[in-house]
Amino acid sequence: MHKGTSTKTWAILMVSPFVLCFILFWLAPMLLGLWVSLHNWNLSSGNNGFVGLQNYVDILTPGSLYNEAFMLALKNTLVFVVISVPPLVIIALGLALVLDNLPTRLKPVFRTIYFVSYSISVTAVSAIFLWLFNENGGFINNLLVSIGILDQPINWLSEQPYAWLSILIATVWWTIGFNMMLFINALDEVDPSLYEAADLDGANAFRKFIYITLPQIKNVAFFIIIMTVIASFNLYGQSRLITAGGPEQSTTTLTMGIQNTVFGMNQLGIGSSMAILMGIIMLLVTAAQYFMSYRKKEVN
């Protein structure tokens, strides 16, 4: 185009606010985190010297204090990933199928109702479920005891497996609408002529689901699984606020563990190393899932 220099000046002017913000609030923290993770860096007293990879060695060597904290938090986080991803994906698909089979004019109403809880903050969700599940004066115990299903209140928040169950129910209620919306989009894009052909062959609803719907939405389903694994890895607010990481630290997740290291123990260096390790683990899990789906596609 003509007036080349003026276009170039405009281009630089327009992109620079974003580039500046990105450097200040993403790149600088990122590089600082890498730098700090190689130092004995105290949150209040600052840098106490270069230690190389010692922080990482400490975290990964069995027996050390930091190793115990990190491994416990990692184990707890993995427990939540394992118990939460199947319901968050399967129930979401079920909801999408229910919506898909509703009469057209009812669809938007129910879609909105199933999705509305997603707009609420994690602190509001936690406040609600904390008082639904509370052991003394919580609504669910009051209700179950008064109608005679329970003789004694259940310790929903201070006893396992109830603590995980409470967090799981709160999480499913809060976030499942998002996965459901992704499934709805995927179902909408399935070519209707495939179903018509199956109807002519006399296929029933179940067979149509197995042989047409599932293969058609497979890619989106894989994307949803990866996103859900990442989201569950990041569990924080619910376990911080509903169970306070308990009972006996069994719901203390990686993010909470790192926060405790940084603020409770004052160890910014160790905490930064833990955060980078958590980031690497999440990237590896994502890459592994991606690789698996890629391989499957190749085989087919």
């Binding site: 606010p17 600088a28 600082l32 229910v98 109702i113 406040a127 609600i128 003394n136 990442i230």
Partner: protein, 275 residues
């Protein structure tokens, strides 16, 4: 006939599921109108005795929850933050998609890379930077860090790349300046995506909990979302009715925005489902 039967079954199922989804919210609404003692012992959804006392308490100046201040703080940071992010991202995306900015491919590569790196990695160092500059407990860390998100640039960039250039070129040949083209050609065209980005950004800032909890200490600087966490962990712990009144105040703006912007919110999910 079979079609009708199928419809009845599916609608009944949908209604039952809807009840499950709405129960926690309905319980929140009615509990906020119960007396303290009733809210602790009640096994019914509806209050026996209706009271506005919980709302009077949380809005009173002597309350340990300065909720009006939290509403004000939240309004300021969501409004300023959302406008900043949308404007900065539109400008950057336009420059990257249309103006051949030097280093374009490197910037786009970095944007995509940043999207894949988990947020935990930058969280605590970012806190440390604000701490070092004595900016904790101010609006600055509550607003500015959201501008580093690359998601919005990526979203609008992708939209612009697949959007035909003809109109812009015509305007350019007619002697329009870059700013005029942005205002009269680009803005109207990208309005739906920009609103979608605005809605996601608003919701993200409004509902953020972990980051504000790191950079804000004093009660007067808190957002509604952070304030609710303080109430959960503080002395109001044993007052479900008061807790639900505060939660109502914190939840209603988010739900209203969600319902009003439903169309865009739905679109935001579609957009995030990158194929």
């Amino acid at each position: 006939m079979r079609r009708k039967q199928k419809n009845i079954i599916i609608v009944t199922l949908a209604v039952l599921i809807a009840i499950l989804f709405l129960l926690p919210l309905v319980w929140m609404v009615f509990t906020s109108f119960k007396t303290l003692s009733e809210s602790m012992s009640s096994s019914a959804i509806l209050p026996k005795v209706w009271t506005l006392q919980n709302y009077v308490d949380i809005f009173s100046p002597t309350s340990d929850a300065p909720i009006l201040l939290w509403v004000f703080n939240t309004a300021v940071i969501t409004a300023v933050g959302t406008i900043l992010v949308v404007v900065i991202d539109i400008l950057a995306a336009y420059s990257l998609a249309r103006l051949n900015v030097p280093g374009k491919n490197i910037i786009i590569g970095i944007i995509i890379m940043a999207l894949t790196i988990p947020g935990i990695v930058t969280l605590f160092p970012a806190f440390y930077i604000f701490k070092s500059f004595n900016l904790l407990d101010t609006f600055i860390p509550l607003i500015l860090p959201y501008t580093a998100s690359t998601m919005g640039v990526f979203l609008i960039y992708n939209f612009l790349v697949s959007f035909p250039k003809d109109l812009e070129e015509a305007a350019y040949l007619d002697g329009a300046s870059q700013m005029q083209i942005l205002r009269h050609v680009i803005f109207p065209a990208i309005k739906p995506v920009a609103v979608t980005l605005g809605v996601i950004t608003f919701m993200g800032i409004y509902n953020d909990y972990l980051w504000p909890s790191l950079v804000i200490n004093s009660n007067e600087m808190k957002t509604l979302t952070l304030g609710i966490a303080t109430l959960i962990q503080g002395s109001n712990f044993v007052n479900p009715a008061g807790m639900m009144a505060a939660t109502m105040v914190a939840t209603i703006p988010a739900i209203v925005v969600f319902l009003v912007a439903n169309k865009y919110f739905v679109k935001s999910v579609t957009n995030s489902g990158i194929k």
